[in-house]
């Protein structure tokens, strides 16, 4: 009842505001950045927007890693009343474009020269049939391995540069009574480890063929079997109580020395920093063994809206999102790195520097790849089908041959 009143009051207020100031840029922004650091980051954008004379209508929908927000979006689009900008990423942008509801923001993008400052493969996600339809916010790297520096030093282990080295180190740690790999048995975490292993074992070209092109021969190749073999080995390195554990609890295990390594995207860094741990001294960050860079880029897709004030708001919003100031402030809060490559990184931590250097290098070498586990490479149905197989294999005694067969049929069935 109260919420209804509140909504009624807010909308009445919005209407009265709109009728007074008509030419003001308007933006209604649907997002699910509601937790501490993220909410702070959005507030920065909000302030910039209003300081340029715009009216920001916040529409945060928390819950379910964006599932709840997507449900809200679906309802709004079906009702013919889409928000101005929506937090969307990867192939989901194209999916919505195919429904014919996205706007063209090429005029801003060209005026601001986005094409020159964004890595080509990331820019590709922001374009719908050649015209710009979304604005990138950040780049999360997925293929990170985090380690407790003290535990490694005590056991005479350095950061592994190959999976064999990792296995040897883990065996040693296990013998010393330390859990080698802190891991949470949730499907998306299994998938995160899996894609890091796949990139390391198979290499960038294999990864692209398997998880971007869904090439059947690659999916059932011997390399894929080797990836599943390594997953089986990794299963032996997690503690027996890992099922259902949240990722931040696994990070805490590394922090307090209960476990040595964790494979997780760079949001884990935020946990370390929040606990007062220093990069390079208390904890170590490195890319997982192998070449390449798996990215997860958050972005705002711009929906078709009516009215000059809303369109103006949309353009202003797009400009600010990719603007240097927001890219810097937001990413320092969030633990990721800016999507545009010309932002000065002086205030960022060493892990972010590594990330930015690797991104530039892999962009030049063609190994800058979208993360499949975080919905950048494939559509929901396909990536979900792969994750089902990965998590079923990891949580049972399925053989690698069986897993590969299942993978091929699951992918075919998800089309």
């Amino acid at each position: 009842m109260n919420t209804k009143l509140l909504i009624a009051a807010t909308s009445a207020l919005t209407i009265s505001i709109t009728s007074i100031a008509k030419a003001e840029p308007q933006a209604e922004v649907l997002h699910w950045w509601t937790s501490g650091g993220e909410a702070k980051s959005v507030a920065v954008l909000q302030e910039e927007f209003s300081s340029r004379g715009g009216t920001w209508t916040d529409m945060p929908v928390a819950g379910g890693g964006g599932d709840a927000a997507m449900t809200a979006l679906r309802a709004r689009v079906l009702a013919g009343n889409a928000p101005t900008a929506v937090q969307l990423k990867g192939p989901a942008i194209q999916e919505w474009y195919e429904e014919g509801v996205l706007a063209d923001i090429s005029s801003v993008a060209n005026a601001q020269g986005w094409a020159d400052v964004l890595p080509a493969s990331i820019a590709g996600h922001m374009k719908c049939e050649g015209s710009w339809c979304a604005a990138p916010v950040n780049v999360h790297r997925i293929d990170w391995i985090w380690a407790n520096a003290t535990v490694l030093a005590e056991n005479g282990i350095s950061m592994p540069s190959s999976w064999d080295e990792f296995n040897a180190a883990a065996t040693k740690l296990k013998a010393a009574g330390i859990t080698p790999l802190a891991h949470g048995g949730q499907a998306w975490q299994d998938a995160t480890v899996f894609e890091a292993v796949a990139l390391g074992v198979g290499g960038p070209e294999f990864f692209h063929k398997a998880f971007v092109e869904l090439n059947e021969d690659t999916l059932k190749s011997d390399t894929m079997k080797a990836v599943f073999d390594q997953m089986r080995t990794m299963r032996g390195f997690v503690d027996s109580n890992f099922s259902g554990r949240d990722w931040n609890l696994a990070t805490a295990m590394v922090m307090n020395g209960e476990a040595a390594f964790q494979i997780m995207g760079d949001w884990a860094k935020g946990e370390f920093l929040a606990a007062g741990k220093r990069p390079g001294i208390d904890f170590l960050c490195a890319s997982t063994p192998g070449d390449g860079f798996l990215y997860n880029v958050d972005s705002f897709a711009m929906f078709d809206v009516d009215g000059a004030d809303k369109e103006e708001g949309q353009m202003l919003l797009a400009e600010l999102i990719v603007g240097k100031n927001f890219q810097k402030v937001f990413n320092m809060n969030k633990g990721s790195i800016p999507a545009r490559v010309d932002v000065a990184l002086d205030d960022f931590d060493p892990c972010a520097h590594t990330s930015a250097q690797d991104m530039a290098a892999s962009n030049a070498g063609g190994s800058l790849l979208p993360s499949y586990a975080h919905g950048m490479a494939l559509r929901g149905a396909q990536s979900g089908a792969i994750t089902d197989v990965v998590t079923a294999h990891f949580n049972s005694d399925m053989s690698s041959d069986e897993a590969v067969d299942m993978l091929v049929s699951a992918v075919a069935n998800s089309m």
């Binding site: 027996s240 259902g244 979900g384």
Partner: protein, 290 residues
């Protein structure tokens, strides 16, 4: 005029809710059925393409797990809850002194939300936090109870939590049934020197057939629509070992943008409900017509 009004008033009063149910229950069942025959992905589409979603559903190993879990969970949940409920009811029926308090204690779990039950049992059954860790810290080093993290056994933890929640309620149903049996008959049997267990088996329980049926129907629909318990207790894991049709449907509709799959799994769930409810309705209606 007033006579007409008097005659029509019940219908007029019932009309709004009738219309609402017609649209929001049966209308949407029809809509779901329609969508299940389309290639809907992110948003619903309405051009019918045939049974493709059902084909996909039946070859999906995850649906296989979810669907067989429904029968494992449903069967054990219903049978154990009924047996336990009946046993508790019979024990309470022995005219004991503190019956009121005990009855409340047993009935209380039903007042909890399934989310609370699931979360509490998640902690109790977690090998690193709960029962296993406690007994080991007390010195029983070899004690092991890790069903929650064992993909082959995890579905049985859902049964445990479900039974804990529902058996008190079933007890209350049965207790009411036991009390409704005519005292005279029982006394007559006692005068004839028939042992108590025989009185229960041959006189009281057979006269409670209707209660058994109600308990079965209540438990059956609870188990088919069961969703929050699994989400809170295991999150469908380890892997997808404890998926149920309801959680499968949710994943497809809201996480994966595969509305066609979700709709077809919803239709299968409804078919299961119908398979249970229709015979019940049929027998009810026939009994009344006779």
């Amino acid at each position: 005029m007033s006579e007409w009004l008097e005659k029509q008033l019940p219908k007029l009063v019932l009309a709004p809710s009738f219309v609402a149910i017609l649209i929001f229950v049966y209308g949407f069942i029809g809509w779901t059925a329609w969508v299940s025959f389309t290639k809907s992905k992110l948003l619903p589409r309405y051009d019918i393409v045939g049974l493709i979603q059902y084909d996909r559903l039946f070859v999906s190993p995850r649906w296989d797990v979810a669907f067989s879990n429904l029968f494992i969970f449903g069967f054990l949940f219903i049978v154990i809850s009924m047996l336990l409920g009946l046993l508790l009811a019979i024990l309470l029926d022995q005219k004991i002194r503190t019956e009121g308090i005990i009855r409340t204690i047993y009935l209380y779990p039903m007042a909890l939300s399934l989310i609370v039950t699931g979360t509490a049992w998640k902690w109790i059954l977690n090998p690193g936090l709960g029962l296993e860790a406690m007994l080991r810290s007390w010195g029983w080093e070899s004690f092991s109870f890790n069903w929650l993290v064992d993909p082959n056994m995890a579905i049985y933890t859902v049964v445990i939590a479900g039974v804990w929640q529902a058996s008190g309620f079933v007890m209350a149903l049965f207790l009411a049934g036991l009390r409704s049996v005519d005292d005279e008959i029982i006394k007559a049997a006692q005068v004839d020197g028939i042992p108590t267990w025989r009185i229960y088996l041959s006189i009281i329980l057979p006269s409670m057939a209707a209660i058994f049926l109600s308990a079965f129907i209540v438990l059956a629909h609870l188990s088919i629509k069961s969703f929050d318990l699994v989400v809170a207790l295991t999150g469908g894991g380890p892997g997808y070992a404890t998926d149920l049709p309801a959680t499968y449907m949710y994943t497809m509709a809201f996480s994966r943008g595969d509305i066609g799959q979700a709709a077809s799994s919803a239709m299968i769930m409804m078919a299961v409900v119908f398979a249970i409810v229709v015979p019940y309705l049929y027998s009810e209606l026939r009994a009344r017509n006779d």
